[in-house]
C-alpha cells in the first residue's frame, strides 16, 4: 500500500459522510416516500375495476420496469432540456427515483392489498364503513404487514441505485468518492470506504425491517 493511505482514509471519512448524509440519504428518503405514495395510487387504480384507470396503471408499470433506470435518469436530466424543461440535478434524481419506485412498489402494494381476505372488506361494510375508511382503518394496516419485507427490498435497492445519480452531477456518496479519488488516484481506498458506507446503511435498514416485522406480527396467532 502506498504511504499515507491511512491518512487519506482519515481525510476522506468526513467528506464521504457528508455525501452520504446530504446526498444519498435525503435522495433515498424523499424518493421512497413519494414513490410509495405513487405506488399506492397506481395499485388502487389497478384494483379499481375501472378499465381506463387499470390500463393506465398497467402501462405505466410496464414502461418503468421495461426500461433501464439509468436511461430514465438521463431522459429527465439530459433529455427534457431539449423540450425546454430544465431541472436541477437533485430534483431530477428525485423525480426519476420516485417514478421508478412507484412502478415497482405498486405491484408489491397491489399484492399486499389482495392478500387481505375479502371478508375484511365485507365485515367493514356491514359496520358501515365506506371505501376510504375501510382502506385506511382495516385493509392497509393489514396489507402493510404483508408489504414490509418486499418494500424493504425496494428500499435497500434504492439506497444503492441512488449512486446512479452521480452520472447527473448529484453530489451523493459515490460522486463524492470520485471527486476525492480523482486528484490522488486512490480509487481502491475511497471506493472501498464508500462501499462500506452503503453496506452499513443497508444493515441498519435490514435490522429495522426485522423490528418492524416483529411489531406487526404481534396481532397474529403464532
Amino acid at each position: 500500500m502506498p504511504t499515507g493511505t491511512g491518512e487519506l482514509v482519515g481525510d476522506a471519512v468526513g467528506p464521504l459522510l457528508q455525501g452520504l448524509v446530504l446526498g444519498t440519504i435525503p435522495l433515498t428518503a424523499i424518493s421512497f416516500v413519494l414513490g410509495v405514495a405513487l405506488a399506492l395510487l397506481l395499485a388502487l387504480m389497478r384494483l379499481s375495476g375501472v378499465r381506463t384507470l387499470a390500463v393506465t396503471a398497467r402501462t405505466y408499470v410496464s414502461l418503468v420496469r421495461g426500461t433501464p433506470l439509468l436511461l430514465q435518469l438521463f431522459i429527465i436530466f439530459y433529455g427534457l432540456p431539449s423540450l425546454g424543461v430544465t431541472i436541477d440535478p437533485f430534483p431530477s434524481a428525485v423525480i426519476a427515483f420516485t417514478l421508478n419506485v412507484g412502478g415497482y412498489a405498486s405491484e408489491v402494494i397491489r399484492a399486499a392489498i389482495l392478500a387481505v381476505p375479502r371478508g375484511q372488506w365485507e365485515a367493514a361494510s356491514t359496520v358501515g364503513m365506506g371505501y376510504t375508511t375501510t382502506l385506511r382503518r382495516v385493509v392497509l394496516p393489514q396489507a402493510t404487514r404483508v408489504a414490509v419485507p418486499p418494500l424493504s427490498n425496494t428500499l435497500i435497492s434504492l439506497v444503492k441505485n441512488t449512486s446512479l445519480a452521480s452520472t447527473i452531477l448529484v453530489t451523493e456518496l459515490l460522486r463524492k468518492a470520485q471527486e476525492l479519488a480523482a486528484p490522488t488516484f486512490e480509487f481502491f481506498t475511497l471506493y472501498t470506504v464508500a462501499a462500506g458506507y452503503y453496506w452499513v446503511v443497508c444493515l441498519v435498514l435490514s435490522f429495522s425491517q426485522a423490528a418492524l416485522e416483529r411489531r406487526f406480527d404481534r396481532y397474529v396467532a403464532a
Partner: protein
C-alpha cells in the same frame, strides 16, 4: 308470531333472483319477517340460503327482487347506487361464519369501530356501550385483548357484539356456529337465544335443528333457489310436507 296478519313485517322480500355465471342460485325467494321474531333458513348446501341472507344487506347484489327493511326499500332490478345499498346495509347487523374480526384491533376497538368511525358518535359513549355489549356476550374481561388470543366461540361472540354496536333493526347470522369446534357451539347459540328473548328480530342460516326447534318463530326450507316449505318449526321440522325436506332433515339428524 310471524304469521300475525295484523302487524306489518319489519323485513319483507319479494322475488329475489341471482345467478353466478350460468348457476341460477336464487329463483324467486319471498320472505316476511315480523318485528321481534326469529326466522331460521335451512337447506342443503347450494340451496341458496346464504346467498339469500347476503342479499338482505346487499353483500350480494341480486339481478332482481325487492328487499324492504323498515322504511328502506331496495329494488335490485332498478340498479340501485352504492349509497342506497349502504343505507339498506346499515339496517342490519351481520355475523359471519368466519367471524371476520379485525385482527389488528383490540376486542373493544372491533366493537367501537362502526359507531365511532362511521356514525361519529363520541368515543366515551361508544366505549361505555361497547363494554355493556361485551358483558352481554360474556366477554367483559376480554376488551383489551386481540382476536387471536380468543377461542373460536369467543371470537364469534365478539362478532355478535360488533354487529349489535351499530344499533341495527335486524340481526343476520350466516352459519354462526358452522366453523366452531362442537364444544364451543353451545356458548354461541346461548347468546343467540338470549338475543331472541330480548326481542331482537333475527334471520339465522344454520344447521342447528334443535336451536331452530327451540327458538324459531318460522323456519324456511330452501332448495334449488326457492323456498320449498315454510312455517312454524313444529310443522316444518316435525311434520315436513315435502319429500325433499324430509330427506334433508333425515340426513342432518342422522348422518349415518
Amino acid at each position: 308470531m310471524s304469521t300475525d296478519p295484523a302487524g306489518a313485517p319489519l323485513l319483507s322480500v319479494r322475488g329475489l333472483h341471482k345467478s353466478f355465471g350460468t348457476n341460477h342460485v336464487l329463483r324467486g325467494v319471498d320472505l316476511d319477517v315480523q318485528p321481534g321474531s326469529v326466522t331460521v333458513l335451512i337447506g342443503p348446501s347450494g340451496s341458496g340460503k346464504t346467498t339469500a341472507l347476503r342479499a338482505l344487506n346487499a353483500l350480494e347484489v341480486p339481478e332482481s327482487g325487492v328487499v324492504r327493511v323498515g322504511e328502506v326499500t331496495v329494488d335490485y332490478a332498478a340498479h340501485p347506487d352504492a349509497r342506497r345499498l349502504a343505507r339498506l346495509r346499515a339496517q342490519s347487523g351481520m355475523v359471519f361464519q368466519g367471524h371476520h374480526l379485525f385482527p389488528h384491533m383490540s376486542v373493544l376497538r372491533n366493537v367501537t369501530a362502526g359507531p365511532e368511525l362511521v356514525q361519529k358518535r363520541p368515543r366515551a359513549e361508544v366505549e361505555a356501550e361497547a363494554r355493556v355489549l361485551l358483558a352481554q356476550v360474556g366477554l367483559a374481561d376480554k376488551a383489551d385483548q386481540h382476536p387471536f388470543e380468543l377461542s373460536g366461540g369467543q371470537q364469534q361472540r365478539v362478532g355478535i357484539a360488533r354487529a349489535l354496536a351499530i344499533r341495527p333493526r335486524l340481526m343476520l347470522f350466516d352459519e354462526p356456529t358452522s366453523s366452531l369446534d362442537p364444544e364451543l357451539v353451545g356458548e354461541v347459540l346461548q347468546v343467540l337465544k338470549q338475543l331472541a328473548s330480548e326481542g331482537w328480530t333475527m334471520v339465522v342460516v344454520t344447521h342447528e335443528i334443535r336451536f331452530a326447534q327451540q327458538v324459531a318463530d318460522q323456519v324456511l326450507f330452501l332448495d334449488g333457489g326457492v323456498v320449498l316449505e315454510s312455517g312454524p318449526p313444529g310443522q316444518v321440522l316435525a311434520h315436513p310436507r315435502h319429500e325433499r325436506t324430509q330427506q334433508f332433515l333425515r340426513r342432518i339428524l342422522d348422518p349415518l
